[in-house]
Symmetry: C2
Subunit: 223 residues, 2 copies
């Protein structure tokens, strides 16, 4: 919804976050409702970029937080907004690029979106009344980011590879697994794919390690 | 605006705050726009109480935070939302009742409202884009309250008097000052009154101390 995008932009700019990326916005882009809700925030931010898929939108990033209402049953670290902010500052200090991923207001992120991310960011609310909307979630995440102290740049070693390269090597692995008849049950295939992704992406491979894994796949195939 | 009241209620309930008091709401009460915006929050909270003045609304409370966009030039401590939450938890542990005071969306709190409060709560935002709305300010204050650890009850000594008693003794002093010709300049009178209030309320008198001050006024008058 345009209104939610506008509210998110306003929340971001209040705490100095100026880069918003949209994935396949329902109401198209640019959008007047978004502008009306943003209280001028779009004039202050970098030009909003629009992408077809989450994978494309995050291709150049090194680390992603998936924001969800509650932790999902996935093998990923779960953090609150304060901890996410602290980790983000640390990664930025190491020249990494970090993204916060938010889902549509009503449905939230799909499991496949969460699977693309490294960690889950969840904001604990009243168990009897949990009703944070999208703009509010963005506000709290941005607020904590702004509160967290910047971390001085340390040696930029062991940078995780960009998402694009991780996605490529995992996609290649899946193709090979498909060819090899790995996915026996069609109904279980989506879950199995997510589990594989979680298992591999968690390691935060460097570029060199991605190349190594490509090598591993090639080597196994030859045999 | 009803919508802002609803958004405030929703923000509060997300973090378990269930007591909302309204001062002279523009659109009357109950209000359908508020209910529409609240996503069911009013069903979960204590019955909303409506008052004619801020003094009446806060009569039974011991400590008040005035929420403002920027610190005013008043002799009061200025804290951020995290610090306010920490202090609130401490006071609650000592059996005190604490209030967060918010002004209307567009105009904010008037100086006379701020003067009634003990401390100023201000949320630092992007200096180039400071556009927190009322619901967002309530959300951040409530979020920090929820994050702050509850403080175990300690001995309930030196409880500040209820606002009502403080207001009474200060009002009495002002009457006496008026009678005595203290306020020579009519145009400066509001500022002088605020300064006197700030000067006295800052001390957080106990019931006993309020009685003592009544005694002081009486004693001075006799002479």
């Amino acid at each position: 919804m345009g209104e939610n995008i506008g509210a998110a932009a306003r929340a971001m700019m209040n705490f100095g976050l100026a880069e918003l990326r949209l994935v396949n916005p329902r109401d198209g882009w640019p959008n007047q409702s978004a502008i009306d809700m943003a209280a001028g925030a779009f004039d202050e931010m970098a030009k909003v970029k629009v992408f077809k898929t989450l994978a494309e939108a995050t291709a150049d990033l090194n680390y992603l937080f998936a924001t969800t209402v509650r932790p999902r049953d996935m093998a990923k670290p779960v953090v609150n907004a304060q901890e996410a902010a602290k980790q983000t500052r640390k990664r930025i200090g190491k020249k990494q690029k970090v993204g916060y991923v938010f889902g549509p207001e009503r449905t939230g992120l799909e499991n496949d979106d969460v699977a693309l991310c490294h960690a889950i960011l969840t904001i604990p609310t009243n168990p009897n009344f949990s009703s944070l909307n999208l703009g509010q979630s963005v506000l709290l995440a941005a607020y904590e980011y702004s509160n967290a102290a910047a971390v001085r740049s340390s040696a930029a070693k062991n940078i995780p590879a960009q998402q694009k390269k991780i996605n490529e090597v995992i996609a290649r692995l899946e193709d090979e697994l498909e060819t090899g008849g790995f996915f026996k049950s069609k109904s279980l295939k989506p879950t199995m794919r997510r589990n594989i992704r979680a298992m591999l992406a968690r390691a935060e491979w460097s570029d060199q390690e991605v190349r190594t894994f490509h090598g591993i796949i090639s080597a196994l195939k030859k045999k």
